[in-house]
């Protein structure tokens, strides 16, 4: 199958923004997951639920909320606009939509892998005088790294599949904000099924690869 220039461009664009989005949410995701796994505070379950919401809410409604926040007519969007930053209708919008939609998946997977780290190791390190930051980087992270990578892969695949929030926040602008999912939608709308199928093939192959790697990592983490 020979891929057209347009197809390549869409694929590379989706992959790079998806990667940027995953890298962007990774530190926050790990921090949030760690707090959820190790700390207790009042109304924690409320915050946990809020973080998970984008996972189950209709993506279009998440997109509408994002459009409301970042639109020029609203305080946050206005503030950014005055500083020359526009989110709506450009790649930054794609980045934010992907980041918000994939964050819960990352937190969920990483949290599970933190929970599976035996807290005794951390307690022992603490009795030996290690600071909590040191414990986190020397004990917790190395023991949970497979789960973290698996979570990141899962978040990356989710980012690639993002549609509803992206089309509202970033639009469907060929060559500018059109991702694999948006391009497939457009081709289907126009009845160009053969073009849609070639993109569909790429999407399935990528999704299969990432989800398979993610599952493999989780399995090998369990065995260890």
């Amino acid at each position: 199958m020979i891929l057209s220039f347009e197809t390549w461009q869409i694929t590379i664009f989706s992959l790079s923004v998806g990667l940027a989005s995953t890298l962007l949410i990774l530190p926050f995701g790990i921090a949030t997951a760690w707090l959820f796994a190790r700390k207790e505070w009042p109304l924690k379950s409320v915050l946990e639920t809020i973080v998970l919401l984008p996972l189950v809410m209709p993506p279009v409604s998440t997109g509408l909320i994002l459009l409301k926040i970042f639109g020029r007519r609203n305080p946050v969007g206005q503030w950014l606009y005055e500083r020359g930053v526009e989110i709506v209708f450009n790649w930054k919008g794609v980045l934010i939509a992907m980041a918000v939609m994939s964050f819960p998946l990352l937190v969920r997977s990483v949290r599970t892998s933190f929970s599976e780290v035996n807290p005794r190791f951390e307690q022992i390190a603490a009795t030996l005088g290690a600071s909590s930051l040191r414990i986190f980087f020397v004990i917790t992270i190395p023991l949970a790294y497979k789960g973290i990578i698996a979570g990141a892969l899962l978040a990356f695949s989710r980012a690639l599949g993002e549609f509803g929030a992206t089309i509202l926040l970033a639009g469907n602008i060929p060559g500018k904000t059109q991702t694999l999912s948006l391009a497939i939608y457009s081709f289907v709308q126009l009845g160009k099924d053969s073009d849609a199928y070639s993109l569909l093939g790429i999407t399935v192959a990528l999704a299969f690869l990432f989800v398979w790697c993610s599952e493999w990592l989780l399995r090998s983490a369990k065995k260890a």
Binding site: F13, A20, V88, F89, N172, G175
Partner: protein
């Protein structure tokens, strides 16, 4: 660390060629999805003559209107429906004097291309062998127009129980193509997209509802001059011919 991270992201964006180049002559047109093919051809012709670049954001008219309402940086709006344009107009989002009713479309009845049912007019849809009729559900303009038309013909009450409301025009075509419904209502321009359906009836323009595709420049546009230039271009005779080639009706 943070610096390196940002640099990496920027490098990625740069490599893929998506760093935004600040160009004053680059306009963004929000356009109804049904206009995708014709506008791409039209803008290619325009760009070969002009130094301006035209980008499009294609989507359902209702979504596009919503985005413009929230201050999304679109310069021009091509709607497939008057209602969306009217709302923006009422809220003062359009540049005065730039609004124009540019195109129209024709409602048609389509059936699977291998259909053996004798459907030659809307009345034939009442026959008992026609069990299901696909229609895009509101607020999709073609669905609204179709039900209005059937109401005016005095057929809506009898046809309504047979109607399967689907998501959009594409879904209407797909359900007709697959033979899961006996007939469907779409625009003439949409019917041309599918080889697996055939048009059995064209609603005469004077009998059908007034279908209008309006266009206007957005008031908050920072690039009004190039936008006006493109707006003029879509109305020159060559552009009108192109719209006709894609089965649109050009309004004067």
């Amino acid at each position: 660390m943070k610096r390196k991270f940002i640099a990496t992201i920027l490098a990625l964006m740069f490599l893929t060629g998506f760093v935004e180049v600040a160009r004053t002559d680059e306009i963004l047109v929000a356009a109804a999805g049904s206009l995708t093919d014709v506008l791409k051809e039209l803008s290619a012709a325009y760009q070969s003559k002009s130094k301006n670049t035209v980008n499009f954001n294609f989507g359902p008219s209702s979504t596009l209107a919503r985005q413009i309402e929230e201050g999304a940086p679109a310069d021009m709006f091509f709607s497939a429906d008057l209602a969306q344009m009217d709302d923006l107009d009422k809220n003062g989002r359009l540049e005065p004097g730039t609004r124009k009713n540019l195109l129209s479309n024709q409602l048609v009845i389509v059936v699977p291309s291998d259909s053996k049912l004798a459907i030659a007019s809307p009345k034939d849809l009442l026959k008992s062998e026609v069990k299901k009729i696909a229609l895009a559900g509101p607020p999709v303009p073609v669905g609204v127009y179709s039900s209005k038309y059937l109401e005016a013909e005095g057929l809506w009450d009898q046809i309504k129980p047979k109607v399967v409301p689907v998501q959009d025009v594409r879904a209407t075509l797909a359900s007709v193509e697959s033979g899961n419904v006996e007939a469907g209502f779409v625009y003439k321009t949409d019917a041309a997209v599918s080889k697996k359906v055939k048009i059995v009836y064209e609603v005469p323009i004077n009998k059908g509802p007034k279908i209008v595709y309006p266009v206007a420049i957005v008031k908050e546009s920072k690039r009004k001059d190039p936008s006006r230039d493109f707006l003029n271009y879509v109305q020159i005779p060559a552009s009108k011919e192109l719209f006709k080639k894609y089965s649109f009706v050009v309004l004067d």
